[in-house]
């Protein structure tokens, strides 16, 4: 009989010291960053007082200038729809060129760089540049959101193409199909449902951003929102915000429906 090993003490849920130190470091960072940004209790309490007055001026929401709000909202929707359509149209070739399994490296890498460039600037910065280049108005907003859509859709589209099964592509090619037919019959059916997913997501996202490009002169409801804000008409601001939130809710329901249709 071999001598029995003494049973080692095992704790059911052993403390994880590495994780604890990590959380501690995170807490230290929060305190440090807060002090760097000048957060203090006095500012918070002063802010809460302001916030009280601010909320009091917001209620009840003032819909009396509904004509102005309606025309702004309609323009925002127009910007979003047009930007999404042309953004997707341009993303199709760009995404295809960026897919590493279908295109040679010397094309795919520069295309990926271009996509990264489109993605890294916030739409508002792009909108500022377009407002300078083509003047105030909805067109600048449309152009800014097209750039944002290209950055987002082409990247996801390229990834979707990279994940397809090449067996179907090969089968279509084996029947003697050319490049275009291979794309339409071999690649398109595999990526369409995911693609509709990105497209509806991008429509939602463009709708959200189209309510904002007006702040820098890009057209849409943002202009009315910013004017009301600068005139301290906070009740109109609240009215506009309520309408934006309900618009986005409707858009999410519609895009959920579209995704189910294409499942």
């Amino acid at each position: 009989m071999t001598p029995q090993e003494p049973p080692t003490q095992r704790v059911a849920f052993a403390p994880n010291w590495g994780a604890r130190i990590g959380w501690l470091l995170l807490a230290i960072y929060v305190v440090y960053a807060g002090s760097q940004l000048g957060f203090s209790a006095e500012r918070f309490s002063a802010g809460l007082e302001h916030g009280h007055r601010f909320l009091a001026r917001m209620f009840p929401p003032n819909f009396s200038r509904w004509e102005l709000i309606a025309s702004g909202i309609v323009e925002s929707i127009q910007i979003a729809v047009i930007a999404t359509f042309f953004g997707i149209l341009l993303s199709l070739p760009v995404g295809l060129l960026a897919a590493r399994n279908l295109t040679p490296v010397w094309i795919s890498w520069p295309t990926r760089g271009f996509i990264a460039l489109c993605r890294s600037f916030h739409p508002i910065i792009v909108a500022i540049l377009f407002v300078k280049a083509i003047g105030f108005g909805a067109l600048a907003g449309v152009m800014a959101l097209i750039v944002a859509s290209i950055g987002f859709i082409s990247k996801l589209f390229a990834e979707a193409i990279e994940e397809i099964s090449l067996k179907q592509v090969e089968a279509v090619r084996a029947t003697g199909a050319g490049f275009l037919s291979t794309l339409i019959m071999g690649v398109q059916p595999q990526v369409l449902p995911r693609f509709i997913g990105f497209a509806t997501y991008q429509l939602d996202s463009n709708l959200r951003n189209s309510t904002m490009v007006g702040i820098v002169g890009g057209g849409g409801i943002g202009a009315a929102l910013f004017t009301a804000y600068q005139r301290f008409d906070f009740d109109v601001v609240l009215a506009i915000l309520i309408i934006i939130v309900s618009l986005i809710m409707v858009a999410e329901i519609v895009s959920g429906w579209a995704r189910r249709v294409f499942q």
Binding site: A116, F226, L241, I244, V261
Partner: protein, 267 residues
């Protein structure tokens, strides 16, 4: 039915209802697009000289004014703090709401819908608009920017977090409940280990987005590198604008590389 007839059957990929709804979708898109294109207010004269204006813009931007690097860097550090702190505050607020939204943790439809409403509100108001509201409350500065980032991120992080909780495996939860664990204990020892990878991935993903978003908050006075951008824009110093844009581009690319490498390690 004879064999010949059954072989002759005309196979179709979609049912009539599917085809009808797809057709309806395309029709809807076409009508929306045509209606938008026909009614949108565009001044075509502005388009004609757009290439000239663009060339003018680029020539004014080049060469970048290197003396503006110092204020840009200062703003950039502030932007990083705003993005990181904003993400942390957002997660702290999103966790309880995410638990309320997850149907397996909170089996109460009213609370689920309430949490969903919080998410939609948070996501539909743009970070710039959140920043406007917080500037009105707390005054201009990074505090307003941090809170704007935080409130804007609740919806995104909370929604994804609730989905991660709903997808978690019931087995270990049942085992813990059977052993007599309280609700809090099942959360900490049952759900948390299962959602931890997606939690970190959501947090990193949102941090990456927030760096982009916090770089522009300065335009409405909410701190960060956007203040430097706004100053240069208002003074029409396009060579200084170029410095800020290059700096933002570098930081965004750097953040993306960091996030990709960290995700590859923890997932």
């Amino acid at each position: 039915m004879t064999v010949a007839e059954s072989l002759n059957h005309n196979w179709q990929r979609f049912t009539p209802l599917q085809r009808l709804s797809r057709f309806g979708f395309y029709l809807f898109i076409a009508v929306a697009l045509i209606a938008s294109l026909r009614t949108i207010d565009v001044i075509p004269e502005f388009l004609y000289d757009a290439p000239e204006q663009m060339a003018d813009l680029v020539s004014r931007m080049w060469p970048p004014d290197l003396s503006y690097v110092r204020p840009t860097l200062k703003g950039l550090i502030e932007t990083l703090h705003i993005a990181t702190l904003g993400t942390i505050i957002a997660i702290v607020m999103a966790l309880p709401v995410g638990l309320l939204a997850a149907r397996n943790v909170t089996p109460n439809l009213a609370l689920n819908l309430f949490a969903k409403f919080v998410f939609v509100t948070s996501r539909s108001i743009n970070s710039l608009v959140w920043a406007l509201l917080f500037v009105a409350v707390f005054g201009p500065g990074p505090l307003a920017g941090t809170l704007a980032i935080a409130f804007r991120s609740i919806g995104f992080t909370g929604k994804l977090f609730a989905e991660a909780i709903e997808e978690s495996n019931k087995g270990s939860i049942e085992a813990l409940t059977a052993a007599g664990a309280s609700k809090l204990q099942t959360l900490v020892w049952g759900y948390w280990p299962q959602v931890r990878p997606s939690f970190w991935s959501i947090a990193l993903f949102r941090w990456d987005i927030n760096i982009r978003e916090s770089a522009v908050l300065g335009i409405v006075g909410a701190g960060g590198v956007g203040v430097a951008l706004d100053t240069a824009l208002n003074l029409l110093y396009w060579d200084q604008v170029a410095v800020v844009l290059i700096a933002i581009f570098a930081v965004v690319i750097l953040a993306e590389i960091v996030v990709t490498s960290v995700r590859a390690r923890i997932l």
